[in-house]
Structures are given as C-alpha cells and as structure tokens.
C-alpha cells in the first residue's frame, strides 16, 4: 500500500468567537470525522497538529507540538488563521502561551508560522478583513491577517475564506483545492482574495425571493413573504453562494428563514453593511440583468 501523504495543519485563533471551527464541525460531506481521521482525499491526510478547540493536550506540551511542526516542516504545513490580530498594548489584547515568562502576542505567532507556511488560509471575516473584532471603534486595534502580513513584510500568499461564520464547504473546498492542485492561481481568486468558486456571484442573483424583487413585491415587515430588500437585506451587495448551497445540511439559510442577508462575507462587515435593518442605497446592482 502506498504511504499516505501527511499534510500538517496548524490552526491559530486570534480575536475570534470560535464560530469558524464550530461551523467547520457542522460539515456534512466530508464530515469532520472524515477530515480528522480519514484520508480526506485518496492518499492524503490532514494532520491537525494544533487546533485548541478540539486537541487533547494542554499548555506547554501543545505549544511545543506547534513549534516542532513549524521547525520540522518549513514550507510544508498549512496555516489556518481564525480571528483578527489585535495590535494594541504590544499584543496583550490577545496572547498565546509564554516565552521567558512573558505572554506571546498572537501576532508574533502568526508572523513566525506565516513566514514558513506552504499556504495560509484566512478563515472567517475577522481573519480575512478584520470583521467584528475590528468594528468601529476597534478598541483592540485589530487588523486582518493579510493586513498584518503586509505590515510585517511577510510574503506568503493568503487565501481569504470569509463569512461570519464561513460555510463549512468553503473551508473544506479550499483545503481540498490546495491538496489537489496546490495554491490557487490569481485568476481563481476575486479582487478581495476569495475563491471565485464560492464567492463568484451575488446572493441576490440566485435568491429564492428574487422573483418578488423583479415583481416589486417587497415585505412590509419581518416574517412577511416578499423580497427583504426594503427592510435592509444586503443580498444585492454580498457575494456568496448561500442561496444555492444552503446551510446546515441544506436545512435553511438566512433569507430562507425570513431573516435577511446581513452581508457577513463582505470586506467591511459589519460597519459598511450597517445599520442591518436599513435599506441599502439604491445603487445600480452589479451583475444583475447583465446576461450572466
């Protein structure tokens, strides 16, 4: 039997709510068990060396495991970063472990691990764009991972997989792409660094309530039938495939439940898509009716 190729993964958590890994736990096909235990693709296994939400060990022993993976697999491991990076107070707003008796800022960890990674996935809107952690007035002075890399002069390319949280398929699909074909080519990503495969179209283009919009049947209050645009839905300005992919094993999705799209995959979420229940300005809606 051919030997299984092991792909070490280090998953760091910055200024986060842990919604990203909980969303990944909800993955249906592959399941989270397939990811952790099985060969996720024939002959390839993701070896999760560091992920604090699920790993067995604790404290110094796991910091050592993380640092050993870094030192022994330079250029060969995948770094997944969830959460933004607080820069205020010399990193004391988010630290991980100690070195010589001092807390190690999460930014220092991200810089070390990011420099030598094969690929870096900025998972969730906080890591990709700053998200909730960097929302005004950004008390912790949080920045996104790509922003942090730029200021630290780190050249490792990042793949942004935003969403608050991201759909588990977007994460699994991105990992599988890296394992199958290597790093995405520039033309595979949009101008905000997201895989076009998942973020290529507007929510509004494929929305189940789109016919209401075209017929100008707008919901007057929440829980009504009709298009939610007048009530504040950000589907017309948000790129993601939620309407066709659906969430939680196909059970539902935001607009499906009559709760609206709040634009959680957008750079600038939440501030640029707030107030949530205020109608987006009557901008000309890109990609709509353009014969795509």
């Amino acid at each position: 039997m051919a030997k299984t190729l092991e792909y070490p993964v280090i998953w760091l958590q910055g200024a986060t709510c842990t919604g990203c890994p909980v969303s990944v736990l909800n993955s249906v096909s592959p399941t989270i068990k397939n990811l952790l235990i099985d060969e996720i693709l024939p002959g390839k296994h993701v070896s999760l060396r560091y992920q604090a939400t699920v790993m067995a060990g604790c404290g110094e022993q796991i910091i050592t495991a993380m640092e050993n993976t870094w030192k022994q697999h330079k250029g060969g491991y995948i770094l997944v970063m969830e959460g933004a990076i607080p820069t205020r107070g010399n990193g004391r707003y988010c630290s991980l472990g100690e070195r010589n008796g001092n807390p190690v800022p999460i930014g220092d960890r991200a810089a070390e691990l990011g420099s030598d990674a094969l690929a870096v996935i900025a998972l969730g809107t906080c890591a990709a764009y700053g998200g909730i952690a960097a929302a005004a007035p950004n008390v912790s002075q949080s920045v996104s991972l790509p922003q942090f890399f730029r200021s630290a002069g780190i050249k490792t390319p990042t793949i942004n997989v935003p969403g608050c949280p991201p759909h588990p398929d977007w994460f699994m699909g991105t990992v599988a792409t890296v394992l199958l074909t290597g790093l995405p080519k520039p033309e595979d990503l949009d101008e905000f660094g997201r895989p076009k495969a998942f973020y290529g179209s507007l929510i509004h283009e494929n929305c189940q309530r789109r016919a209401y919009y075209d017929e100008k049947k707008f919901a007057k209050k929440l829980s009504d039938e009709g298009c939610l645009y007048e009530l504040g839905c950000k589907g017309p300005v948000t790129h993601a495939d939620c309407p066709t992919r659906l969430w939680n094993g196909g059970a539902n999705w935001c607009v499906g439940s009559g709760g609206m799209c709040i634009g959680c995959c957008s750079p600038g979420f939440p501030d640029l898509v707030s107030p949530i229940y205020q109608k987006a300005p009557d901008v000309s809606l890109p990609n709509i009716g353009a014969g795509r």
């Binding site: 919604g19 604790c58 929440l222 009559g258 229940y277």
Partner: protein, 519 residues
C-alpha cells in the same frame, strides 16, 4: 512550592490561562486569566438597537443562540413589547434555544471533556467490525496522532473495551450534535449566528413539513441522550467516582431559569419557565434572584479601578494597560458581594429544590443510580451529570412545544423603536445565567452591557480578594503528577468555560459614533 502554568487551556471556547501554585502536593493559589479582549459592548455603542441581536451573537460562536435570545428579550423589554410576543414566536424561540443547548451539551461532554477520561489510542487493539472504530484504528496505524496526542499521560482508567465503545460514541456524537444544529437552522435560518430570532419574535414561520423535520431530528437526539449520553456519564462517574469530591467550588449557585412557558409577564424572572430561576447554597435552601444585587468588580482585572462595583445597568468600564494591577481581562461579577457559580448545575439544583416535578423525579433517580447525595453534585462529576440531566429534561419537553405551534398564525409583532428607553434580558444560556442590559438614547444604543456565564465562573479575585468559582474549585486540589495535572484540567472543563463570552467591556457613556454607513 511549584508553579503549574496551563496556557492555553484547550477544548474550551476561547483564550484561557490557568496558573496554580502547588504546596505539599495541593493547590495553594489559583489564578484564572482571560487572554483575549475585543470590546464588543463598545462596538455596539451608537448603533441601531436592533443590530445588537446580530453583534452580540458574535461574542461567541459556541453559544450565539443564547446571546440572540438574551438580546431579543432585552430589546423586547426596551421596546415595551415583552408581554406582546405571539405564542408562535415564544415557542419558536424556545425550540431554537433548545436545539442549541442539546447540541452544545453533547459537544461539551464528548468533544471537549471526554478526552480527559478516555484513551483514544486503545482503539489500536480493536478487533471488531465497527467501521468508525476501524477507521480510527487505521488512523492510529498511520502514526500521525494529532490532534489526539500529545496529551496528559497516566490516569486513563477504563479497560480497552470501554475505551473503544466511548471512542465510538465520540464519533457518533459528532453527527448527533450536527443534527442539533440542523434542527436549529430549520427555524433559525443558519447556525452559528442565527438571523431569525429578532425583537418582536421570530422571522421564520412554522409549517407542518418543518415541524416534522424538526421532530425527527429531535427524536434521534432524545434517543441518543437516553441510551448513550446519560449512560456514558454514569459510566465515567462509576470509574472516576473520586471526582464527586474534587472541584467542589463555592457552593453558591445562581440560575435565571430558561424556556418561557408563558409570555404574559414582562418581568422575565417571574415567568413560568421550564427550568427555574433562583439561588441556592450548600444547605439547598432557595432564595429568589434580585438582579439589582448584581455588580461587577475589577480590582484584579485590567480595567480602570474607578469603574469597580457598578451594576450592569450603570456599567462604566475602561480597559487599562496597567498590567501589574490585575491578571485577567475577565471582570468579577458578584451577587450582593458574594461569589456565585452559574451553569447547568445551578439550573438543575434550583429547579430540583423548587420542586419542578420532571426535574425532581429525574434527579432523585440519577442520584440513586450514582449512589450519591445531592450535595455530591457540587463537584466535577456533578457538573457533568447536571448537564446531561438538563439535556434530558429539555429534550423530553420540546416535542410538546413543537405541537403547540400554529402554522399560519403570527410569529412576530411590529414595534416602534423608542427615542429613549432601558431594557434588561435575563435567561440561562447553556453555560448559565446570562444578562443583557441596554440604554437607548435618540433611538441608538447609548449603553450595552452583558454579564455572561463564564464571567461569573472564570472570574478572577474581586476587590475583597475572594477568588472566583473556578479558582475556588481548584484551591485545595491534590495534584498527583505535576507533569500531567489531570485534576486541574478536569476541574476547569467541568465548568465548560467560554472565554470569548466572558470578556467584554463597555465604555464611558455619551460617546457618539456616527460613522456607520451602508456600502
């Protein structure tokens, strides 16, 4: 005297560090430290009050649903519609919260706590035909054991057969908890971070197909709780029975109760709830909760000292970078100056002592099977058992609620946002008593404050030097092997800590933020 540093603590939500000093084999001092600060309450200031439902869920991706419920109760009260939510809306909220809690309790026992008791590597010797266990065996044979190794070594007490069965349940529970999340999404839209629970009710409407789809996922979960989860907790309890005496803690318990069975009373704590609100101590005597007696102290936290001792409705806090003054981003909430533990244990014992019939019968029967007195529930195992029993009481009730839904009738009541108002939303989340407070001015959030379960449980010392509930549970614990301090992590995880929840701050009032725009 030696120092044991646990940084980070894994298999919890968020960033927690625990540091203890051990003297003559027992913990003499313990410090619980939250190591991440984001400032969610400050982020809320100046925004549309309705946005609080969405933003406060992002406090925590493990328990967002509890925040969505507390936030909407809070907003309902501020908007003057707390007693006007249609029954359909109230019931849908219960079902959404219930689905979250079932999923969460199962996640906690199997995926966060069990690896402290169960040895995954014993599956290497498995010889049966179970495909899940054989895939774990193949994983072990490949030799890369992350994320299950490294780990503490030594105190795994089960024979291989029991370990293998429990590992099988760990894998099975991954699917069962996911089903709970799917159930939630049927009425909540999606999870983590549901869009459908809103002030005024719920945006989703019930239909027979959704009810049926929800029901059969619920039935599967009920089956798992009765035939796998509860028996497994009792299996751990039997083999690790010394943990009925370890991690006792402060023995003051506080619950806000949860699951409104009627919506007529605008005073949430006076409502008839499935799980009751109240406080009890070691003598198991009940006291009612008076939320005006809650205050937060920052004498050992990284906030300005001038803001200590304030009630949440008047909260006024500012972070400081004077690192020497304290040791945590978590504040210290106290009730009437005293330390209280919150969580499933509080919820269960308060409901038990107040004579809730379903709880009384169930707890008496569990105590007899485990061969313990109620007082033994103040412990590591007591917290696990209480969580499983809360899951059972809930799962047994949800089917009936589901059938009370009336397709075609309203789920939502419209309202006006008042120019000025105040609100308070109190409910037990999965991890315990959760309170949201709001002050509205000019139809905007002027102040938003949350006091959440893990702020109570993971709190540092207060201004009087009283250690928090986790710290008290650690102090005095005998540590057999300082290189593998199982006792400490088992105590910590019995609380099911959630640090992103525990840490938040609100800023001096009156600061205006008018920079939000629609892009």
């Amino acid at each position: 005297m030696s120092r044991i540093l646990l940084d980070p603590i894994t298999r919890i939500e968020g960033h927690l560090k625990v540091e203890v000093l051990v003297d003559n084999g027992a913990v003499k001092e313990a410090k619980s430290t939250g190591t991440l600060f984001r400032g969610i309450e400050l982020i809320l200031q100046g925004r549309d009050p309705r946005d609080a439902q969405h933003i406060t869920q992002r406090i925590c991706g493990v328990c967002p649903t509890s925040h969505s419920i507390a936030a909407t109760l809070n907003l309902d009260s501020a908007f003057g519609i707390a007693d006007r939510i249609p029954d359909n809306g109230r019931i849908l909220r219960n079902l959404i919260l219930g689905a979250a809690h079932l999923s969460d309790h199962i996640l906690h026992f199997y995926h966060l706590a069990a690896l402290d008791y169960v040895d995954v590597t014993k599956v290497a010797a498995y010889e049966g035909k179970d495909s899940a266990l054989n895939s774990v065996k193949a994983f072990i044979e490949r030799g890369e054991l992350g994320p299950f190794v490294p780990r503490y070594e030594g105190d795994y007490r089960f024979p291989a057969g029991v370990d293998q069965e429990l590992v099988g349940h760990y894998v099975q529970a991954l699917t069962v908890r996911r089903k709970g999340q799917e159930m939630l999404a049927i009425f909540g839209g999606k999870i983590p971070h549901n869009p459908a629970v809103v002030p005024g009710g719920v945006t989703e409407t019930p239909s027979v197909d959704k009810i049926t789809s929800f029901l059969w996922r619920l039935n599967d979960i009920k089956d798992f709780i009765n035939n796998v989860y509860l028996p497994d907790v009792l299996t751990v309890a039997k083999t690790y029975s010394d943990y009925f005496e370890i991690g006792v803690g402060c023995r003051n318990l506080l619950s806000f109760g949860n699951y409104d069975l009627d919506g007529a009373n605008p005073d949430y704590l006076a409502r008839n709830r499935l799980m009751k609100s109240g406080m009890i101590s070691a003598d198991l005597k009940m006291q009612p909760v008076d939320p005006s007696k809650i205050a937060e102290y920052v004498g050992n936290s990284w906030y300005e000292d001038s803001t200590t001792g304030l009630k949440p409705a008047e909260g006024k806090t500012a972070p400081t970078e004077n690192w020497a003054k304290g040791y945590s981003w978590v504040k210290a909430p106290r009730y009437d100056g005293k330390v209280y533990e919150v969580g499933p244990l509080a919820r269960l014992l308060v409901s038990y002592v107040s004579g809730q019939p379903a709880v009384k019968e169930l707890v008496d029967s569990a105590l007899s099977v485990a061969g313990i007195q109620p007082q033994a529930l103040f412990s590591v195992l007591g917290r696990h058992l209480a969580r499983a029993l809360c899951a059972k009481v809930l799962a047994d009730s949800m089917g009936e609620w589901l059938l009370q839904l009336k397709p075609g009738e309203p789920t939502y009541v419209p309202y006006e946002i008042p120019e000025e108002s105040e609100g308070m939303g109190l409910v037990d989340g999965a991890r315990g008593a959760l309170g949201h407070w709001i002050e509205i001015k000019d139809k905007r959030i002027n102040r938003y404050q949350c006091v959440v379960p893990s702020t109570w449980n993971m709190s540092p010392q207060d201004d009087e030097g009283q250690p928090g509930p986790l710290e008290q549970a650690l102090i005095g614990t005998k540590v057999r092997d300082e290189a593998n301090p199982f006792e400490l992590v088992r105590i910590v995880r019995s609380f099911d800590p959630c640090l992103a929840c525990a840490i938040h701050v609100m800023e001096p009032r009156g600061r205006s933020l008018a920079r939000f725009r629609v892009g």
